[in-house]
Amino acid sequence: MPEDRATERVIGIDLGTTNSLVAYMEGDKPVVIPGVDGSNLVPSIVALDVTPADAAASSRTVTVGNSARRALIETPERAVYSVKRLMGRGLEDVQDELKLFPFHLADDIQPGEVLRIRLGEMQFTPSEISAYILRQLKRNAERYFGAAVTKAVITVPAYFNDAQRQATRDAGRMAGLEVLRLVNEPTAAALAYGLDRAKAGLIAVYDFGGGTFDVSILKLNDGIFEVIATNGDTHLGGDDIDNLLLAVALDEIRNEHGVDLRQQPDAIQALRKAVIEAKIALSTEPSAKLDIELPDGDRYQREIPREVFEQLIAPVLARTAGPCKQAMADAGVKPEQIEELVLVGGSTRIPAVRVLVDQVFELSARGKQPHTELNPDEVVALGAAVQASILAGNSTTTDELLLLDVTPLSLGIEALGGVVARIIQRNSTIPASATEHFTTGVDGQTNVAIHVLQGERELAADCRSLARFDLKGIPPMQAGLPRIEVKFLIDANGILQVSAREQRSGIQAQIEVKPTYGLTDEQVETMILDSFDHAETDFEARQLIEARQEAETILIAVNKAPAHSAWQLISETEKIAIHIARLHLEKVRCETDLKAIRDAVTSLDHATRNFAEKMMDAAVSGAMRGKTMQSASDDMAAANPAEIHAPHAFAQAEFE
C-alpha cells in the first residue's frame, strides 16, 4: 500500500535446522526480535494441531516453535523438526536421514520428485514446513513493529546447492515474504562481527550448527567482505552428535532392560530430549547424567563423563577438519595467515570443538583466541539484519559495506561419455557467468538436451543433477551448423539462471527447465500459506494489521463510490449514513482498538449494503445483454472484480 519504500523495514532471518531467528537493524546496531514468549530463538518445530476428524481443511491449524515442542512427544506423527535437512533433496539423498530422524514421508514419492512429509492426515513439502517457520518469524517482527513486513534476507548454509537455495527462496514466497537476498551463514556472521571496526586482513568463519557445517575464508578490506573460499558439509551438525548419544542409549536400554524403544516414536523423542540436555551440560560440566523412566516403569540411568563423550564424538568433529583444510588450500592461504577466527553455531560451545579449531588454525600457538563475543546462536541472524540494511539502503552504518560472496560448488554440463565439463569453478565470486556453444548432431535436429550439474566429481553420475534443459525451436539445419549460445548465470543468491540463443538465425531458443528436485512456479503458487490455517499465537498485532488493511480496502472503494452510476440510485439519507460511517472508520483506523476498527468496518459495510446491491444489479444487467445467465455469471467471475463487485468485495465482517 502507500507505505514509503524508503522506510519499509527489511528483516534478516536465520532459518536454522534447530532454531530460527529474526533480526533487524535498530539504528546502527542489529538486534534480535523476540517472540511472544520472550525468547529470541524460535525452535524450528512445526506441528499440525489435532482437530476433529470431520473438520474442514480450512479449520486445521499449525503451531510453530516452543508451543509445538509438546506435540513432538504427545503427537509425534503430527510434528516435524530439522526439516532443513530435507530442503531441496530427493528420496535417494535422504535414506541416511530417514534412519535417524522420525520423518514420516508420503509413501508414493517417486525418485526425482520433491519430498512430501506426512503430518497427521496431511502432506507438506519441506518448503511449506519452512514457510510456516518463516511466517511465524514474520509475524513476530510485525507484532514488534506494529506494521506489515514483506521483505526479508534469509541465510542459508554456504555449502547449500542450487536446489536447496531454491527451496529456501520458495519457502519465503509461500510465507508472503519477498526474499531480497539469500546470504551464506558464515558470511553473515562475518558481517555481524565486522560492523564495529574497520578491519583489514584474512578471517575465517567456522560455523558448526544444528545440522550443517560451513567454513569460509574472507578477505576484509575497507568495508568490502570478499569471500575467497568456502567449504562444508550440509549434513553435519549437532544433530549428528545427538544421534550418536541416542544410538548408544537405545542399545544400552535394549541390552540392560530388554526393551527396544526404536519402534516407539514418543519414547525416542523423550530420550532425544534427555541426551540433548546431557550434551549441553557437558559443555560446562565434567560429567552429565541420563535418568529416564522407561515405559515398563524401570529407570535407565547413566553417567556420561566428558572424556567418554569426547571420545564418542571425535569422529563427527574430525569431519570438520577436512573442509577447513580444503578451504584454506583453495584460498591459497596457510593457517598462520588467518588473522581472526569467528566461531558460529551452537555446536561451537563444545570444548572439544574449540580444541580442534585451535589445532587446525594454529590459534593458541600464535597467541590468538577465537571470536565468541557475539552469541553463536544469534550471530547469523544479526548478520542477516546487517545485509538487510545494506539492501534497504537506509543506514549510514552499512552504507560502505559490501559483501562479495562465492559459489560453493562448481557448475558443469554433462558431456560425451557422462563426464562433466566444468564451466564455472567453485569459489568463483558471484554473480558469475559462463557462455557455452552447442550444436546439433543430426541433420534437421530442432532440440538439444543439456544436463546441468553441480559438484566437484569427474562423472556426471557422481555430481548433483541441477536441471535438464531442452533447447527447443532450433531452425532445422545440417548437423553441426546451428550454433546455440547458452548463457549460464549464477546470481547473487547463488541460484542459476539460463538463457539461450541460436546465433546463425538469431532466434531466441526456448528453454524448458526441469528442475531435478525443485518446485515449478505454479506449484509454489498453490502452496502459498494463509489459504488455510487461522492459527495464531500472537493474534492481536496480526489482527490489528489485518483490520487496518481491511479498513483501507473498504475506504478506497467507498471513496470511489460517488463516481459510480449506482450512486444516483440511493437516497440522500443513505448517502449521509455512508458519509458518517466513513468518517468514523477513518478516525478509529489510526488507533489501536481492534474492536472499534472492526465495528466501524461492519457499520460502513451495513451502510453501503443497498448501494452495493444496486451496483451488482447494474453490473449484471450490463453483462447480461445478449448472453445467457450462465455465461454472464462466468464473465463476472472472470472480469475485473473491482468493477462489478461491491466496494468491499465480498469481504466478510468478522464476528467473535
Binding site: L180, R181, I224, Q387, F438, G480
Partner: protein, 242 residues
C-alpha cells in the same frame, strides 16, 4: 570457429548521455550502470590494462579497480532500483567478476587474449560432440610414449597389489622435471607478454602477431604438460596408498 570479437558497446551513457570513459560498465558522470552487452574483459578494466589489451598487469591496481567497480555495480546497490537497472547490474557485476577472475591469472589472461585475437585455445566445448585434442608436442613424442608404458606398468602392479619402488622414484623424477619445465614456460609467457605489450606501444603489429603465435604455442605445450603431470601425480598417489 572462433570469430574475432568486434565491440559495439555504446559510447555514451543511456541516462545522461555523457561519454563513457574508464569502465564502459559505469558512467563516471552520473554513476548509472550501463548495459554490458558486447564488452570484453579488457574493456571492463580498461583503466588498468589499457584499451590496447596489455598483458603486463599491476595486480594490486587490478584489485583496487575491482573493488571500486564492485561498490558501484553490485546488485546489492540496486535492490530498490528499477527492474531494468537491476538486470543490468546483475549482468555488469557477473561480467566484472568473470573479467577479474580471468585477468588476475597470467595463464587465463593470456588464453583469453589469444581467443579475442582469433586463436583457437583450449578444449572448446561443443555439446555432446566434445573432441579432446591431446596430440603431444613433436619433441615430447618419444618421452610421452615411454611414460605411458610406465604408467601402465604401475597400474598393472597396483592391480596385483604390488609396488615397484624403482618405478615409483623414476616417475617421481619425471613429475618434478615436468613441473620445473612448467615453471619455465610461465616465465616465457611473461616475457612474450612483455613483447606483446611492447609491440602495441611501438605500433608494431607484426611483432605483436609473432608474440601472439609464440604464446599460443607455449600455452598448448603448457596444457599438455599440465595434464601429463596430473596423470603422473594421480598414479603416484594411488601407488603410494597400496
Amino acid at each position: 570457429m572462433t570469430s574475432v570479437v568486434t565491440t559495439s558497446a555504446p559510447a555514451a551513457c543511456w541516462a545522461c548521455r555523457a561519454a563513457l570513459g574508464g569502465s564502459p560498465l559505469l558512467c563516471a558522470a552520473c554513476g548509472k550502470v550501463q548495459p554490458a552487452a558486447g564488452i570484453d574483459y579488457f574493456q571492463v578494466f580498461g583503466s588498468v590494462v589499457g584499451f590496447e589489451r596489455r598483458l603486463t598487469i599491476d595486480t594490486a591496481a587490478l584489485e583496487r579497480e575491482f573493488h571500486r567497480l564492485s561498490r558501484r555495480l553490485h546488485p546489492d546497490r540496486f535492490a530498490r532500483a528499477t527492474a531494468q537497472e537491476q538486470e543490468w547490474s546483475l549482468a555488469a557485476t557477473a561480467l566484472l567478476n568473470d573479467a577479474y577472475r580471468t585477468l588476475r591469472e597470467l595463464v587465463q589472461r593470456t588464453e583469453y587474449l589469444l581467443k579475442l585475437e582469433g586463436f583457437e585455445i583450449g578444449e572448446e566445448f561443443a555439446g555432446k560432440n566434445k573432441t579432446a585434442k591431446r596430440q603431444p608436442p613433436a619433441d615430447l613424442l618419444e618421452e610421452v610414449f615411454e611414460l605411458n608404458m610406465q604408467l601402465e606398468e604401475m597400474r598393472m602392479n597396483r592391480k596385483m597389489g604390488e609396488s615397484d619402488p624403482a618405478l615409483h622414484s623414476e616417475l617421481t623424477a619425471v613429475s618434478l622435471r615436468f613441473e620445473s619445465e612448467l615453471a619455465k614456460l610461465d616465465n616465457n609467457l611473461v616475457e612474450k607478454g612483455a613483447a606483446w605489450d611492447a609491440g602495441a606501444a611501438a605500433g608494431d603489429s607484426a611483432g605483436r602477431a609473432t608474440a601472439a603465435k609464440d604464446m599460443a604455442a607455449q600455452l598448448d605445450r603448457r596444457r599438455y604438460l599440465r595434464n601429463l603431470v596430473r596423470d603422473v601425480n594421480e598414479a603416484l598417489s594411488t601407488d603410494k596408498e597400496s
